[in-house]
Symmetry: C2
Subunit: 284 residues, 2 copies
């Protein structure tokens, strides 16, 4: 496994591999790797010949007052995990390498960046789209893997790739959960033991929502109310901590007025220092 | 010479050529080809093995009330010119091929898109940056050629390529002029014979400005006043027709307070149905 810190060098190596006809799989990450990331890496390992992981805590996707400085940085253990998972290359650039001054260019995916987390994290998806297109230009992958946990991110990247004719295939990979259902996230580390316990309410509420739909409930408000009831059933989460509970179309991310087709139920809740998101896809 | 109308097919052909180690030169155009375009094509012909010209009147770079509909479309004669100039591929897509609905993604190059033409054509450079990145992803050129006539565009594309790590080299090519000095432009076709005559004042005023600087003038206001005097010396141009006269740094596009280094003198003037731009680089 090779660790590369410079964009130009990465491009050179990737170009060589591509010219040899090698299929490149790519997993962009911010490090602090967990089983969720590893499931992406494993899928890439199965489907492609060269697996590249990038580790970069991207400043442009953090808003003011967000956790850019606190975000866990643990390259040594990340490197071990990559090695164990059969990664071929880690791209691990410095901030100055990715955003040399002056830096002016940003990519926006209109409409899809507006709802859900977009409302509460202005500029976030602009930062995500921008760093992803940069990484795609550097790594030149054939397939790139994204977790469904960041569902809106997945939809935005898919749209960007289509709109900008980027020659890469985007694959979404199911959420990996802890035994008690909590979706894996690098931000779970922020939780105290008590908060960690309360955090299980997110997935529980989503399961309840799915159950309601399976039983025939079609009214989004009633479903959201049930979710809210469960979220508020513990000791820590109160109404103000819930950024949103949404039931949206999986492609357009538009809020459903009636649950008359497949949908994504998504929510974001702030617990302690963490802002947690989760979602579930439900057929009806 | 091959004419290709579909992005996917273009990408396939280019990928094959790249894998054979061919160097690809690219000239993005809106058609209505003139000697300016042909000089770009000739340079590409000398420096690269496969020369690709795109012909696409890009709707997203035209503002409301601008000349999108009137812009000259003359594919037959363009094709002949390309053939004569030794072009290998013309990429000639439909609007629906480049902007299939829904379309949401745009690229912005902040700061550099603000001054000069950016002030008078809001959204123009966003449309330019977006179509150029799309075309780069489709054609995957090694070198792309841009005329210095659209100097701000050249600076913006260069910055975008650097910022987004796009693996292409951008080359600027000198302005080609008619015998009487008028910079070649597809929009010169809009001019009546009388307007066409008056249009020569643009370059004349730039030459005068250069002369002043060569003689030691360092005050931008005095230079701009001399330019204005010449522009207003005819029968058609009046003050309201002058969008701007600017003396800027060639890299940052910032207005110079003192002409103490190399600079670009740029101007935009509306004559009849045409909005004409021109510029000159001056060392001091």
């Amino acid at each position: 496994m090779k660790v590369i810190r410079k964009a130009k060098q990465m491009q050179r190596e990737m170009k060589n591999l591509k010219c040899q006809g090698k299929k490149i799989g790519f997993i962009p990450t911010m490090g602090a790797l967990h089983e969720g990331h590893l499931s992406l890496i494993r899928k890439a390992r199965l489907e492609t010949e060269i697996v590249v992981v990038s580790i970069f805590v991207n400043p442009t996707q953090f808003g003011k007052g967000e956790d850019y400085k606190e975000y866990p940085r643990e390259f040594k253990s990340d490197k071990k995990k990559c090695e164990m998972a059969g990664v071929d290359y880690i791209f691990y650039p410095e901030v100055e390498e990715m955003y040399p001054k002056p830096y002016y260019t940003y990519v926006e995916v209109e409409k899809l960046q507006e709802p859900l987390c977009g409302k509460f994290r202005p500029g976030h998806f602009r930062g995500v789209a921008t760093i992803v297109i940069k990484l795609f230009n550097i790594v030149m992958p054939d397939i790139a893997y994204f977790g469904f946990k960041d569902y809106q991110q997945y939809v935005i990247i898919k749209q960007m790739v289509k709109d900008l004719n980027i020659p890469v295939k985007i694959k979404g990979v199911p959420i990996v959960r802890e035994k008690d259902g909590l979706a894996m996230s690098s931000r779970n580390k922020y939780l105290t033991p008590e908060e960690r316990k309360e955090a299980t309410l997110l997935y529980k509420s989503l399961l309840k929502a799915r159950e309601l739909i399976k039983k025939g409930e079609r009214n989004p408000s009633r479903i959201k109310n049930e979710i809210k009831k469960i979220l508020l059933s513990g000791k820590i989460i109160n109404s103000e901590k819930i950024d949103y509970i949404s039931i949206v179309d999986p492609v357009t991310l538009e809020e459903l007025k009636k649950v008359d087709r497949e949908c994504i139920i998504a929510l974001a809740v702030r617990i302690g220092k963490a802002r947690l998101i989760d979602n579930i896809r439900v057929k009806c």
